[in-house]
C-alpha cells in the first residue's frame, strides 16, 4: 500500500498543512495517510510526500487544500499529469541532497506521534545498548571519542560536562535539556522536538545514565505549544512502554522524565537562569563557579545540554564515536543544524557537516538571494553573535574559524541579508532585544545595553555625533568585561562586528545623515519625479496613509509629513517616477 505523508511542523501548519490533511481525508485516497514533522524545506510548505509500495518518493510542494482530489487521483492511478505543477523541481531537491542528517534524521520521515514508527526505524536500540552493554564511563568515553561539542552556543565538550556531573558527590542528580531556544529567527530545536521527540528522549536518557541522574527535565520555550504537545505525547508513550521509569530494560537503571514550560524570557536560555526558572523564581543567572555540575537544580549536581546536542547522542552510541568524528574538521566534529532565513531563496532547516563553507550553505543549498539585490552578510548566533560579510563567504563552519571573525557558531540561527539591510539598523535591532531582555541583575548589562541602544537610536535617526563610534566601542568593551552572564558578555557582539566590517555605514549615518542601504526611515525621503510621472494615480491608490495626492494625468506629489516611508509607491510605480533618497 502506498503511504501519503503530510509535513506538519509549525511552519507547515502555518502554511496550511492541516487543512491539506483534512481535505485529503475527505477524498477517496487509497493509501495510508499520515503526518510527519518538518521536512526542512520550509519555503515549499505545505509539502505532501507520496511513497509507493517500494518506498519510492514523489514529493509534492506548495500544495493547497484545493489540490486534494488531484493528489488522491495521482496516488490512486499513478497518473501524474494533474499534479505536474506540484512536483518538486530538480533544483529544489538538491536542497536536501547536499545535507548530512544526524541530529535531524527521521525528521520529516517518521510520524512524531507514533513510538512504533520511531522504533521500527531503529529507535531506542542505542539506549538499550548503553544500558545493557555499556558502563556509564564507556558511554562518556564514546562521546569523548566523537568529539561532540555543545550545540547551544558555547561549544563546550559534552563529555567533559558529563564527566564532571558524574564525578560530583551525591545521590540526587539531574539531567536537564535546554529547549528554551531564545535566538529570535532560529527554530532548529523546535523542529527536532516537533518532528522526532523520541530521539531527544533517547539521547537524554543515555545522558542521564551516563551522569547517574534519576530525573530528566526538558525546559521548553513557552512559544512552542506544538512541541510541548508532541513531547508530552511521546513521554506518555515511553512511560507505557517502560522506557522511562523504574528498571529500564531490566538494567537496574531508573529515571523519570518531565517537561517544564518556560514563560518567555530570553535570559532563561542561560543555564543558571534556567535553573532559577525551573525552581519557580525570576530567571536571574547565578554567579559561576560553582558550575551546575557541582551545584545546579536545587543545589544538586546537574547537567544541562541543548536539544541538538542530545539529538546526536543516540546516533553516536549506535554508530560509534569514531564514525561521528570522521565528519567535520579537526576542531569541530560532526554536523551542525542551521535555520536559514532572511533574504534567502530557499529558507529552512539545514544540517551540514562541519567544515562546509558559508557560501556553499547560502548559495548551493539556500539558492542565493530571493531578491534581485546582492548578498551582503550573514548573521550567526543571533543577539549573542555577529555578522560575517559577503567577502568572507569562504569561511568554514568551524567553532574556531567562526569565532576568529568576531561572530560565533551560535545555536544555529543563520539570517541572510542583502544590500537593502542597514547594518547600523541591524545592530540597533539586536540591542533593542538585549536591552529588553536584560534581567537587570548586573549593572553593566542593565545600563550598558540601554546606553548602546540610545546611541544606536540617535545614529539611525540622523542625530549621531562625532565620536559616537568610539563611544560605542568603549561601552561595548566595558560591558563585555563587566557583565555577570553570557547575555551581557555577548550582547555587544552585533555592534562590534558591524563596526568592524561596516564602519563606513556608521560614518555615513553620522557625518552625512545618510543610510546607504536606504532602510533607516528617518533618513529617507520619497519624492515623485515630475518628468516621469504620467499621473496614473496608482501610487496614490496604493498609499496606505493617503500621503500622495494629485489629479489624473497630472503630476502627483508626496506629502512628506504624512508619508510613513513604506515604499509601496516605489514598488507600485511602473514608470520609475517614485524616487527614494
Amino acid at each position: 500500500m502506498k503511504t501519503v505523508k503530510v509535513g506538519q511542523g509549525s511552519c507547515g501548519i502555518s502554511a496550511g498543512a492541516a487543512k491539506v490533511y483534512s481535505a485529503l481525508e475527505k477524498t477517496n485516497l487509497n493509501a495510508k495517510l499520515t503526518v510527519t514533522g518538518c521536512i526542512g524545506m520550509c519555503y515549499l510548505e505545505p509539502i505532501v510526500d507520496v511513497y509507493d509500495e517500494n518506498g519510492e518518493l514523489t514529493r509534492l510542494v506548495r500544495v493547497s487544500e484545493n489540490d486534494a482530489q488531484a493528489i488522491a487521483d495521482f496516488v490512486n492511478t499513478g497518473d501524474a499529469s494533474k499534479v505536474k505543477k506540484l512536483l518538486v523541481c530538480e533544483e529544489d531537491s538538491l536542497f536536501l541532497k547536499k545535507q548530512t542528517r544526524i541530529a535531524l534524521r527521521g525528521c520529516g520521515i517518521i510520524n512524531p506521534d507514533e513510538i512504533d514508527d520511531y522504533v521500527e526505524n531503529g529507535g531506542y536500540t542505542a539506549l538499550k545498548k548503553a544500558l545493557t552493554e555499556m558502563t556509564p564511563e564507556s558511554v562518556i568515553e564514546e562521546i569523548k571519542i566523537a568529539g561532540l561539542a555543545g550545540r547551544g552556543g558555547a561549544g563546550f565538550p559534552t563529555w567533559f560536562k558529563w564527566n564532571a556531573a558524574r564525578a560530583s558527590e551525591g545521590e540526587e542528580k539531574y539531567l536537564i535539556c535546554n529547549a528554551d531556544e531564545g535566538d529570535p529567527g532560529a527554530f532548529m530545536d523546535r523542529a527536532v522536538i516537533e518532528s522526532n521527540p523520541h530521539n531527544l528522549i533517547e539521547g537524554m536518557l543515555i545522558g542521564a545514565y551516563a551522569i547517574g541522574a534519576k530525573e530528566a527535565i526538558v525546559y521548553v520555550r513557552a512559544e512552542y505549544p506544538l512541541a510541548i504537545i508532541r513531547l508530552e505525547r511521546a513521554i506518555e508513550q515511553v512511560k507505557e512502554n517502560g522506557i522511562v521509569g523504574e528498571n529500564i530494560f531490566g538494567s537496574g537503571f531508573s529515571c523519570s522524565f518531565r517537561i517544564k514550560a518556560g514563560a518567555g524570557a530570553f535570559v532563561c536560555g542561560e543555564e543558571t537562569a534556567l535553573i532559577e526558572s525551573l525552581e519557580g523564581s525570576r530567571g536571574m543567572p547565578r554567579l559561576k563557579p560553582p558550575f551546575p555540575a557541582q551545584s545546579g537544580y536545587w543545589r544538586k549536581p546537574s547537567n544541562i545540554n541543548n536539544v541538538e546536542t542530545f539529538a546526536n547522542v543516540s546516533w553516536i552510541i549506535e554508530n560509534g564515536g569514531e564514525e561521528f568524528a570522521k565528519l567535520g574538521t579537526p576542531d569541530s566534529k560532526g554536523t551542525k543544524v542551521f535555520a536559514i532565513t532572511g533574504k534567502i531563496k530557499r529558507g529552512g532547516l539545514v544540517e551540514i557537516p562541519m567544515g562546509m563553507k558559508i557560501s556553499d550553505v547560502i548559495f548551493d543549498i539556500g539558492g542565493g538571494m530571493k531578491t534581485d539585490k546582492n548578498f551582503k552578510c550573514v548573521q550567526l548566533g543571533g543577539p549573542s553573535g555577529g555578522c560575517i560579510p559577503a567577502d568572507m563567504h569562504d569561511t568554514e563552519i568551524d567553532y574556531k574559524k567562526l569565532s576568529a571573525t568576531g561572530a560565533i557558531m551560535g545555536s544555529g540561527g543563520m539570517v541572510v541579508m542583502d544590500e537593502s539591510t542597514c547594518m547600523v539598523g541591524m545592530a540597533r535591532f539586536f540591542l533593542d532585544f538585549t536591552a529588553k531582555e536584560s534581567c537587570g541583575k548586573c549593572t553593566h548589562c542593565r545600563i550598558g545595553t540601554k546606553r548602546l541602544l540610545e546611541i544606536l537610536d540617535r545614529i539611525c535617526k540622523g542625530e549621531g555625533r562625532e565620536g559616537d563610534i568610539e563611544l560605542l566601542e568603549e561601552t561595548c568593551n566595558e560591558i563585555k568585561a563587566g557583565a555577570l552572564c553570557g547575555l551581557g558578555q555577548t550582547a555587544p557582539n552585533p555592534v562590534l562586528t558591524t563596526i568592524k566590517y561596516y564602519r563606513d555605514e556608521y560614518e555615513a549615518h553620522i557625518k552625512e545623515k545618510r543610510c546607504p542601504a536606504g532602510e533607516c526611515i528617518d533618513l529617507l525621503k520619497y519624492s515623485i519625479n515630475p518628468e516621469k510621472c504620467i499621473g496614473c494615480s496608482l501610487c496614490s491608490r496604493k498609499c496606505p496613509v493617503g500621503a500622495i495626492t494629485g489629479e489624473i494625468k497630472k503630476t502627483f506629489t508626496i506629502d512628506n509629513e504624512k508619508c510613513i516611508k513604506c515604499g509601496q509607491c516605489l514598488d507600485a510605480c511602473r514608470f520609475g517616477a517614485v524616487e527614494k533618497r
Binding site: S10, C11, I13, S14, A15, C42, Y43, E45, G182, D183, P184, G185, A186, F187, R190, A222, E223, Y224, K260, A261, G262, A263, G264, A265, F266, S277, L278, E279, G280, S281, R282, G283, W298, A339, T341, G342, K343, G347, G348, Q379, G382, G413, V415, M417, T421, F429, F430, F433, C439, I521, K542, P544, V545, I564, C566, G567, Q568
Partner: protein, 168 residues
C-alpha cells in the same frame, strides 16, 4: 504594579484544583501562574494575592515572578490577540512596517488594546515560521508573507466577522 487591573471580583475557587495539586510542590509557582492565566485570561491582582495566601509564597515574590516573564499579562486582552513577530527574520523582511500599519489602522501600539476591546497588539520574538516571514498570529491562526496591504485586509475581515457575530 500600578498598571495592574485590580478588580477584586474574580471567582477564586476556580483555582483550587490547581492549588491543591501544586501548592506544596516546590518550584511550581510559574506553573501555577500559567494555569491561572489559562483560567482567567490574565492575572488579576486578587488572583495573585490568593496564590500567595494559599502557597505561602510572599506576595512580593509572586508579583516579582509574574512581572518578570513576558508570557504573563495583567490586563484582559481583546477578542483578537495579534501577535506580531519581531524576530530577526521578520525584521529583515519588514515587520516594522507592519507594526506601523497596525498602528495606523487600529491606533494601538505594543501591549495596547483598542477601545472597543476587539484587538490587542503584542510584539513577540519569533513564532518559529521564519520561512514565511514576516508573520503574525491572530489567536490561533498564522498569517505569513505579509504586506501592509494584506494586514489591512485581514484586520478589516476580522472586524467584519466580529460585527456579524455581534448582530447575531
Amino acid at each position: 504594579m500600578s498598571n495592574c487591573c485590580s478588580c477584586g471580583n474574580n471567582d477564586l475557587t476556580l483555582l483550587n484544583e490547581t492549588l491543591e495539586h501544586y501548592a506544596s510542590v516546590p518550584g511550581s509557582l510559574i506553573t501555577i501562574l500559567q494555569k491561572a492565566q489559562g483560567i482567567y485570561g490574565y492575572l488579576p491582582a486578587d488572583v495573585l494575592n490568593y496564590i500567595s495566601d494559599k502557597t505561602g509564597i510572599p506576595a512580593a515574590k509572586v508579583f516579582g515572578v509574574a512581572t518578570f516573564y513576558t508570557q504573563f499579562r495583567f490586563k484582559p486582552v481583546g477578542k483578537y490577540l495579534i501577535m506580531l513577530c519581531q524576530g530577526t527574520a521578520c525584521h529583515v523582511n519588514g515587520s516594522l512596517m507592519l507594526e506601523k500599519t497596525i498602528f495606523d489602522t487600529l491606533g494601538i501600539k505594543d501591549g495596547e488594546t483598542t477601545a472597543d476591546g476587539l484587538f490587542t497588539l503584542k510584539n513577540v520574538a519569533c513564532l518559529g515560521c521564519c520561512s514565511l516571514s514576516p508573520v503574525m498570529m491572530v489567536n490561533d491562526e498564522t498569517y505569513g508573507n505579509l504586506t501592509p496591504e494584506k494586514v489591512r485586509q485581514i484586520l478589516a475581515h476580522l472586524r467584519e466577522e466580529a460585527e456579524k457575530e455581534a448582530q447575531e
